[in-house]
Symmetry: C2
Subunit: 454 residues, 2 copies
Amino acid sequence: MPVEVLDNELTDQRLNQLTQALGSGMFVHVRNMLHDMAASDVAFILESSPPRTRQVLWQLIDQDHTGEILDELGEELKDNLIKQMSPERVAKAAARMDTDDLAYILRSLPDSVFNQVLQSMTSQDRTRVEQALSYPDDTAGSIMNTDTVTLRPDVNIDVILRYLRIRGKLPEATDTLYVVDKHDSLLGGVRISDLLTCDPNASVRDIMASKLEGIPVGMSDSEVAQLFERHDWVSAPVIGDDNRLLGRITIDDVVDVIREDAEHSMMGMAGMDDDADTFGPVIKSTLQRSLWLTINLFAALLAASVSNMFEGTLEQFATIAILMTIVPSMGGVAGNQTLALVIRGIALGQIGQSNSRWLIGKELAIGFLNGVLWSVLVFLAIWFWKGDIALGGLIGGAMLINMTVAGFAGASIPLLLKKMNIDPALAGGMVLTTVTDVIGLFAFLGLATFFLLN
Amino acid sequence: MPVEVLDNELTDQRLNQLTQALGSGMFVHVRNMLHDMAASDVAFILESSPPRTRQVLWQLIDQDHTGEILDELGEELKDNLIKQMSPERVAKAAARMDTDDLAYILRSLPDSVFNQVLQSMTSQDRTRVEQALSYPDDTAGSIMNTDTVTLRPDVNIDVILRYLRIRGKLPEATDTLYVVDKHDSLLGGVRISDLLTCDPNASVRDIMASKLEGIPVGMSDSEVAQLFERHDWVSAPVIGDDNRLLGRITIDDVVDVIREDAEHSMMGMAGMDDDADTFGPVIKSTLQRSLWLTINLFAALLAASVSNMFEGTLEQFATIAILMTIVPSMGGVAGNQTLALVIRGIALGQIGQSNSRWLIGKELAIGFLNGVLWSVLVFLAIWFWKGDIALGGLIGGAMLINMTVAGFAGASIPLLLKKMNIDPALAGGMVLTTVTDVIGLFAFLGLATFFLLN
């Protein structure tokens, strides 16, 4: 529920105020400011601060709020901060966290600290933790909370209403109470808004939605997100193999999954980890980026070795060398357009067996049409620039070949990678660019060698 | 509320079944299948079908469900289908749509059809439409619904409970009822879950959250999404300048904004529109992609004209031509990594005045470190490959320059574009690649000319 509207300008203002207060050593003032803010706002400010400011701010944060704030942080920053905390502080923070976030945090701890944290917990917390840890990362189980309120089918609504009044506050984002039998098998759900508007003499069974089926605990979190998006759910029940109710997933955790998946595609295509910390330290960031650059160096050397095959041509015609970057560049851009479209389609679950062949055919056709269009334009541009009609024809021909290949490769590479269980968002761009560079250079230099040297 | 779990495999199966049934001309069977599906599932199947299948499916869809299905479709496909509908059918569909979706659809109609649609509406619907159309696209107003349930502060809870029972079903995704004074000014909110658990003798004022502030109707929808994400809201009230309650925004529309914004960054960086239809027709797709390719052709010609300045060097040293693509390639990848990070930071609202200078400095430092690292590695690789220590040194020097520039440009270009009110996700990649290509070629060919020709 909105407590206060905080727009970005305001956050920027606060960040400025905090930075100034820190700069002038007004630590007590900063501590008070932090104390009055919502956990999510403190988290946002930590995310938006350079490392040194972060360290100071973190020291000034109320120990009691650590758990809530950790809950709201991005993974990389969360891991870093937890590594610096004492096991006692982690245990204390853990007591105030949701089951799903707790499991995430414990997974990232070193074993020795993990055991220390477990020992400092109450036995009730320990049970919750052990349960949460039993579900693999990126499944419905890992974003599930166990704070469900359940009803039996044969009870009257007025009894339920009295029970709820005695029970007190409902868990966050509760829009539905689940109906189970004595074995905890999910029978249906009752919206709390229906409890307010229905006849109090009706029974739970009368007003419950009985077609409600649960999310299998092992379903991937991305699929869960697609279901929430498609059906506009606020929460949904999670069930085990035996249809037993295990917990529920709420929209706030699903929004995080949607954000992460979308960022994964975008950052992945640029060769970055989606957890990458915008304000992380320099050395760490440099090392994180080097894997991708290493792979690219090999790709660039491969392209250079293609040029190397045509050394004779390049020796005789400097103009060929001048123009040889144009064909790979256009192929790379065209291929990347297709790649982005297909990667998004895969992420949204739109592309399956029934339509992937059609899609490749369509992108091949677009590639060919693009090839025709751009070979003519490039032919004209080069003829005009260099006054050489043969040269224009050569680059036009190479363009036609490379654009057609780019359309085909842009669609088939991600689908192929997915079949091989390699993440297309991560590997697709590099494989594609290598293909369009190699084919583009080979086509242009090959055609030039064939027509100019013979 | 989940009615049935439908995972991707199931959708793929259904799609296959539908395609087969269509292929064998079993149109009645297809019509029945479509009739039994949820609107969101029909929309998903339309999105995942090639154009011809789509046409047939669209003909077979129940007229009564058109509105709900249009609600769930992506923008490009929605526009296409609406263009084919008769004004009467649009008017009929409109009657069943949410205010925000209705406004969207009407905005995309040609004027003549728009007037026809308005005339075929009931006067009540017409009022709704005129109201919805008064808010600009991409603002809180454009994703707002007007179906709020309001309470007065001095009423007792048991009166409210009786009123709700008479009133009947609450609007979708209602988690909070808003408290207003007699001028409709927003005073606070009462969660419906609190209505169930509080003392019935309390008054609305006793249990309402009074610090609740509304979202200004003119706030951008991306900022609204950030607020929802940060505060885990399910719905939030929208207010006008005078604090008057105008409506509410619900999480399902916010999820669409989050998805669109994230796709915008990803698709934009590859030169694609985020509305691009995965299974759209070939000619239309080809034309949509040509703007970006036109710009890239100019960028590639600019890079070629840099090489052209060093024609003399390229004439004498074919090896320089062979190696000249490596430096721009590495700079492009390194710059794109920085660009992706900064564009995401801007989209999340993390980057403001207080930290952008720090961020540029950090990326410059990473660029320089990358430069040192990769100049050494490329020096060794080229020395080893070509057996020429001077050539290795030249390419290493050029690499150091270009990687440093790439770090600086990757961070400063999107920030600069944002200041100029140009979308960094769309224009950033092309501007950056042009910079790294031109600087990379200029550095390598310039150094080679200086050291080898003198």
